[in-house]
Symmetry: none
Subunit: 362 residues, 2 copies
Amino acid sequence: MTAQIRLPLDQILVGDCIEQINKLPENSVDLVFADPPYNLQLQGELVRPNNSVVDAVDDHWDQFETFQAYDRFTHDWLRAVRRVLKDDGGLWVIGSYHNIFRVGAALQDLGFWILNDVIWRKTNPMPNFRGKRFTNAHETLIWCSKSEKSKRYTFNYDAMKAFNDDQQMRSDWLLPLCTGSERLKVDGRKAHPTQKPESLLARVLLSTSQPGDVVLDPFFGSGTTGAVAKKLGRRFIGIEREQDYAEIAMDRIARVKRIEDESLLKIESKRTEPRVPFGNIVERGMLRPGEVLFDQRKRWFAKVRPDGSLVSDAAKGSIHSVGAAVQGAPACNGWTFWHVDRGGNTVPIDVFRQQVRAEMRA
Amino acid sequence: MTAQIRLPLDQILVGDCIEQINKLPENSVDLVFADPPYNLQLQGELVRPNNSVVDAVDDHWDQFETFQAYDRFTHDWLRAVRRVLKDDGGLWVIGSYHNIFRVGAALQDLGFWILNDVIWRKTNPMPNFRGKRFTNAHETLIWCSKSEKSKRYTFNYDAMKAFNDDQQMRSDWLLPLCTGSERLKVDGRKAHPTQKPESLLARVLLSTSQPGDVVLDPFFGSGTTGAVAKKLGRRFIGIEREQDYAEIAMDRIARVKRIEDESLLKIESKRTEPRVPFGNIVERGMLRPGEVLFDQRKRWFAKVRPDGSLVSDAAKGSIHSVGAAVQGAPACNGWTFWHVDRGGNTVPIDVFRQQVRAEMRA
DNA sequence: CGCTGCCGTGAATCCCAAG
DNA sequence: GCTTGGGATTCACGGCAGC
């Protein structure tokens, strides 16, 4: 793709995030992960996105002013991101209750389409010291596509299901904070205040991107996105305002090793497997014309015809349409519905398709 | 308090919620629990893999033309609520990603002060039937005070800690949906599409109100708030637009008895071991991507992928499905089947799971 | 009476390539 | 744009029938 030639891949652009994003070509990025600042509302010092300090805090109007400023900032960087995101790309934003509601509303206002909100449940959150609230034990991520119309965003459903012991991955993820040796230190003190754990980014990239994809992080910070992207064979573009952080991140990423074995990264799903027409199964003699197929519980029967169609009392046609017809159902997957007798065992006809696919791969 | 004399306590006011709220005196309510329409914006019908159709929430009261219309609605009822809420009162709103970001932003704009966002993790959510997203397994509640200045809102810290096995109550709550005999039925069909479980309301009222407090629910629906309020010795004011729902709720509440011994509601400690997906083991670095697993007798081998799946000559997928595939068995417990070399010793991967569980208990 | 297996169902923004 | 049809897709419970 020609656009990719001009992309500053696997680099950190130092500067204002909107200015830097605007230098990138449109529709060029597969995935965005953003961890925007949300320290604009903490007690004591109140800082606007442009770094100017808000004077009075406890006045209603000022609060409103501050939210307005944050909303403007949020709209601006999201609009910039939206331009460079591919039409079927994905966007993640992480935040806490201080900012995530404003971010979510801005996303919807700009036409992004929310796919899930995901809860990062912390195994080891900071306790609430004063006993005035519930322990704030989670953060919220919003995952969205570029628009309602995008139906081909990347979601590695099968990989996530395998990860989770063959059950669908839920919208709540239990993960520890970034501590111990993973936590970057400078002179014994943490190098960045909000370094995210690599496990969190790994789950984001593994679920919603493919190897080789370009991942943009407009608030790069300590570079967790880049480190995990490199490890997992994705490309990254980082943007960071502070030179110090950019240097720390670049050092960190240089020490990361990419997983070399391609077979460990390649993603396959049933939806991307080649289509095998049922006729091929008959053609190859794996099923004989005239052979009788039946459902698991032997309630319905149909005969194989030489042209790869089925015929039953109720209907004739494809394995799917006849399966649907005998059940009186609106639809049916004939591959898993119909079975045949092989050596006294009842086997689904899907085994023949799997056999053909295995031969195609070899 | 004189204001309370005029309050329509333990009643349901039938009518538009804003009109009804406006009839109440200002600064008269201790707690508000609101379950507003979610603005789901559903498209077509959704069919389960078994061809049954999901009974979706497509009621007229959940339809809004635009986000702007929804925002206007939200601002209007929140402003009305704010007037009748005492200065040290509390407000809860529950929602999903469809609406909660807009609600949260509106709360902040109106001067409410967010104390926590609380995640209701569902033990038994509806799965994602088409494999296109993460299972939407939670809803979000926002708990806030009337303003930043309110420092005397009610939070029963010690009660919550006692209920939670002497650990601070976290911001993520694991609770089942409202099903079974608790679910109100009319002619065998659910009486209300979005009836909330009493356990959820119990936790809300026990944590942030006191016996005798007045609790207002402007979207009363099937009356869970009223039922639990009566049970726990709180007073309620319900507002509901639909006469049918109001009647169902009143009947329901009439059958409720007050509970004298609140210890009955103690959150039972989970005796069952927490589920640890295999992916967590890889995520935590206890197994490295590319590492080779084998069975006890080293007849079969598979490699660990970074996404927590395995790949062997024969198959790829979860530890369980690949274990089954290599043996030609219908099923397999991957935790005990697969082993790895650690310092010259062959250890089953289950030791890593036990290790994670031990950490989680600690 | 207890065990097993089948069936129903829950706030859901849920397919997609080929013609 | 459109239509058509192949075929991919579910977890935890409660209730109930059957044995």
